[in-house]
């Protein structure tokens, strides 16, 4: 069990800068994120797209912004718990006991929800019949590729994940690749490779088709696909893989008794505390009159939430306002050498 002054949910820019602000005022924090990397939407949705409205940075990409924030919080040695999701929270006297999907436990007086629009989850097939095979023979990610050896694998999708796995699995499996239109959005080299494999009968491609049904009694047997004109085809399959990108879902946050307004959490604008004591919400996930879903607003919200955390983490101390330019205490926390 990890004791900390604050637990931040979400490693996007807002969560990262809040961690910085907590560090500046001398509080420790831990960060949990469902993605396997730091950066949130910036890294998952637009790593290469330039952003033009970060104050004093005329232009930077989502990836550059993330890397700069990681650099900025380095002095605080913050622990990240990636590929994990906060599942359950429970009030215990002055603290929240927090449990994650991977079984980690935290004890903290403060939870800062910087969860953006929710955690990223794979988008699933829109058909009910796929649910009963979900996680067994209908998959949205691959952990162990050896299970596909000498099997029939039907892959849906047109992006890099779909193409890369089609290429990789075609070496030892019977692969069929299905996409809803003729153009693939993956890297051109992968598209060329897939078409070459098709020409050499190493894999089959059906475009302008989408999933209609999966069939099988207990065990998956086949997948039925349809085109826009209503024609359908049956393809035998041991495994069906879907790579349709990620969607964002609020998930367990909905069960914590927080006020929720259209997928966002109302907060007071003094400390960004929610209706629950010691739970704060900042960034895209919070709402208040005049809320702007901008990264810069998230920075401001994180700075104030960090101060809000102080009174629960150090109930007997008074928080002094200090500047990084002049405060020896703050400069010590930043690891700077003072003369």
């Amino acid at each position: 069990m990890i004791k900390t002054d604050a637990l931040i949910i979400g490693a996007g820019p807002t969560g990262l800068f809040c961690a910085h602000q907590l560090g500046i005022i001398g509080l420790k924090c831990e960060i949990v994120d469902n993605l396997d990397k730091i950066g949130g939407q910036c890294i998952e949705l637009y790593p290469d797209k330039p952003i033009y409205d970060i104050p004093a940075i005329p232009q930077c990409t989502g990836e550059e912004l993330t890397n700069n924030l990681i650099e900025q919080i380095k002095p605080f040695n913050i622990n990240f718990h990636l590929s994990d999701r906060v599942q359950e929270i429970k009030k215990e006297k002055e603290n929240w006991r927090v449990k994650t999907l991977n079984g980690k436990e935290f004890l903290t007086p403060n939870i800062v929800i910087a969860g953006g629009v929710g955690s990223f989850e794979p988008r699933k097939f829109p058909i009910k019949s796929a649910d009963k095979f979900d996680g067994k023979t209908v998959l949205y990610s691959i952990k162990d590729k050896t299970i596909f050896k000498d099997k029939s694998v039907v892959i849906f999708g047109g992006g890099d994940s779909a193409l890369d796995w089609a290429i990789e699995l075609s070496k030892s499996s019977k692969v069929t690749l299905i996409h809803r239109r003729d153009e693939f959005r993956g890297a051109q080299s992968s598209v060329d490779k897939v078409k070459e494999l098709q020409k050499n009968n190493k894999l089959e491609i059906f475009t302008k088709f989408s999933i209609k049904d999966v069939k099988g009694n207990g065990k998956l047997e086949s997948v039925e696909i349809k085109d826009d004109d209503g024609n359908s085809k049956l393809i035998s399959a041991d495994y069906v893989l879907g790579f349709f990108g990620l969607i964002m879902q609020l998930g367990p946050i909905l069960d914590w008794g927080l006020n929720i307004d259209k997928k966002t959490i109302p907060v007071n604008t003094e400390t960004f505390e929610t209706n629950k004591q010691g739970i704060f919400a900042i960034g895209d996930i919070c709402t208040y009159p005049g809320k702007l879903k901008l990264i810069l607003s998230g920075f401001h919200e994180g700075a104030l939430a960090a101060r809000g955390c102080f009174k629960y983490a150090r109930p007997d101390e008074k928080l002094r306002f200090e500047f990084t330019t002049t405060s020896k205490a703050v400069q010590n926390r930043l690891g700077l050498k003072n003369d």
Binding site: Q41, V117, G159, R181
Partner: protein, 106 residues
Amino acid sequence: MAKITYIEHGGKKYEIDVANGLTVMEGAVQNDIPGIDADCGGSMACATCHVYVKEDWFPKLPNKETGEDDMLDQAYEPKANSRLSCQITVSDELNGLVVHLPEKQV
């Protein structure tokens, strides 16, 4: 200004006057029409403002920008007349536009 008709999956209709310059997505969100989530806020980074444009209107809309089809690949049940409503900017020419909302966005 254009009158835009949003039709929910269940058939419920909303006729809304949407100001020029707004997007079809914003017209829905600002008028609390259920069925358009717009998680990313209109930056073409998700696919949760997906609509089916009524067939006769589809060819009259300005063409898709690069990237819109890539996002539509990730939408719930995309069809030939699918668009992201955040990428359709309202003008007088769109008066009478009809869009159908999918069963769900995610």
